[in-house]
Amino acid sequence: MGDVTMRIWRGDQNGGQFVDYTVPEVEGEVVLDVVHRIQAGPAPDLACRWNCKAGKCGSCSAEINGKPRLMCMTRMDQLPTEEPIVLAPMRTFPIIRDLVTDVSFNYVMARQLPPLKPRDPEPDGTYRMQQVDVERGQEFRKCIECFLCQDVCHVIRDHEENKPHYAGPRFFIRYMELESHPLDTNDRRELLRQRMGIGLCNITKCCTEVCPEGIKITDNAIIPLKERVVDGAYDPIAWLGRKILRRTKRSAREVAADAPAAYAPTSEDLGERRAVPETAGRA
């Protein structure tokens, strides 16, 4: 077998450039293996985040030939090797170094999410749920939090200013999981509409395209959520129905009041220690 050239973006907040590394081709490798060989050889300081190397932890997200993918699940023999393979960090998040980005955005969004508020249990203190009731949520709980969907979503990838009010696909599936949770008694629809940017999504489905777990993010979470928001805010007949029938879920105000006290992100979350300047990279 011949050689393979990896064109890897090296740099930090002060800028960077692509550097080519040529290593011998080895049968059966994934992109992450080649990165590890480069670390063990010519570039021991090449920064790259990874953990399990089995597609289960979602750490090694990067952009391979321009496509957001997991490095550990991208086989080298599926990439054209006539020209260099381009490896770049996730575009949407602030850079830390080389292929490593600061994904704090996601942890901030996680904090703002009103958690499960289960109804009362059965007399024996446990719950009964049928398999059909949990299956929808189980699909969303397959999420490995690789944040590739957040990375590819143009709402924040290309529009930095949307970040403060956009939860993103990863958290839309979490909202849908909770909204359709058989035990939950919260109503997060107004929160989604007013503060989490469900209306910003224009369902162009890139999140679904890049999901390594094959979660149907758009069809099974975002669109159903949009429809639920329509029920709550835009549909006049549904509104009339609610006036006539008794509403069963809690209001958005109650839900928001219920959200964790640590609603506002701490400085640790936001990279005070990482000294990431608070300026947008690209308008």
Binding site: G66, A252, G281
Partner: protein, 275 residues
């Protein structure tokens, strides 16, 4: 309705210098092919439809040709301007004098333009927001579907409801097409088959709609407590997975049906009776 204005907004500062090169995309595959194709097909469709709408002729094949075929672009035809035989008998809007296709198309147009699939298609190909995954947006500012007019996309379910009425009418059209007036009562012609397939395609497209899936059972939190809605939802869900295919197929059928009726009505060909 409740508001959440009294909850403090979160002081989120998430920005930072981004990594990677300042390029529109690093993709090297032909990412532009799919939006370009969609752009071309949708443009052709709109152009053809606009042309067909303002023809205001050759949309009905009547008793003089021993058929009862109406173009889906002109049905329901309840206008004063409709050619004799084409319009219904119990409701005629005599004051409508311009082309009847404008009324007939209003509902399908509303349904398709607010459809979750077509939204993806035209946001990508026409708006370039984004043109393809991992390719930068064509616009500097972006507010999604939060403002007028795009906030109206949220009324998709009403367009869907009206589209069902249209489907019923077009289904009746298809059934009527099996009548061969003055030519042996009932029979099967190419035209009747085309209208039938068109009607089926429209039903598949409407029933696979995301709003339909939501209204059937998607709004339920505990399926085990709502077995009928769960069953409906399970019926619609696999259809929903093919919504894109049905959207294109039904679009193609509408055009095919219009073209066919048009060339028969214009006398280019006769609608062959099969049996």
């Amino acid at each position: 309705m409740s508001t959440i204005e009294d909850v403090k907004p979160v002081p989120v500062t998430l920005g930072g210098v981004r990594g990677g090169p300042e390029r529109r995309t690093l993709r090297r595959d032909r990412w532009w092919a799919s939006p370009a194709f969609t752009y071309a097909v949708l443009t052709l469709f709109v152009a053809y439809t606009a042309w067909a709408v303002f023809q205001n002729a050759d949309y009905y094949v009547g008793v003089n040709m021993h058929r009862d075929l109406i173009s889906p672009l002109y049905s329901p035809c309840i206008m004063g301007s409709c050619v004799p035989g084409a319009h219904g008998t119990f409701l005629v809007l005599h004051w409508w004098t311009i082309t009847p296709a404008i009324f007939a198309l209003s509902v399908p147009a509303a349904f398709r333009s607010t459809c979750y699939y077509y939204r993806k298609a035209y946001y990508r190909s026409f708006w370039q927001a984004p043109p393809a995954c991992g390719v930068a947006d064509g616009h500097a500012r972006y507010t999604g579907e939060t403002r007028f007019p795009l906030i109206l996309q949220n009324l998709h379910r009403y367009a869907w409801g009206l589209a069902l009425v249209w489907n019923v009418i077009l289904t009746i059209d298809a059934v009527m097409a099996f009548r061969m007036p003055g030519d042996g009562g009932i029979g099967v012609s190419v035209g009747s088959l085309i209208l039938t397939v068109n009607a089926i395609a429209l039903w598949l497209y409407s029933l696979s709609c995301h709003a339909c899936r939501h209204l059937c059972g998607g709004h339920v939190d505990q399926f085990s407590k709502a077995p009928i809605r769960h069953r409906l939802w399970k019926l619609v869900t696999p259809l929903n997975g093919r919504h894109m295919q049905f959207a294109w197929f039904s679009l193609f059928m509408v055009v095919l049906a219009d073209v066919y009726v048009r060339i028969v009505a214009a006398g280019w060909i006769h609608d062959p009776k099969l049996f």
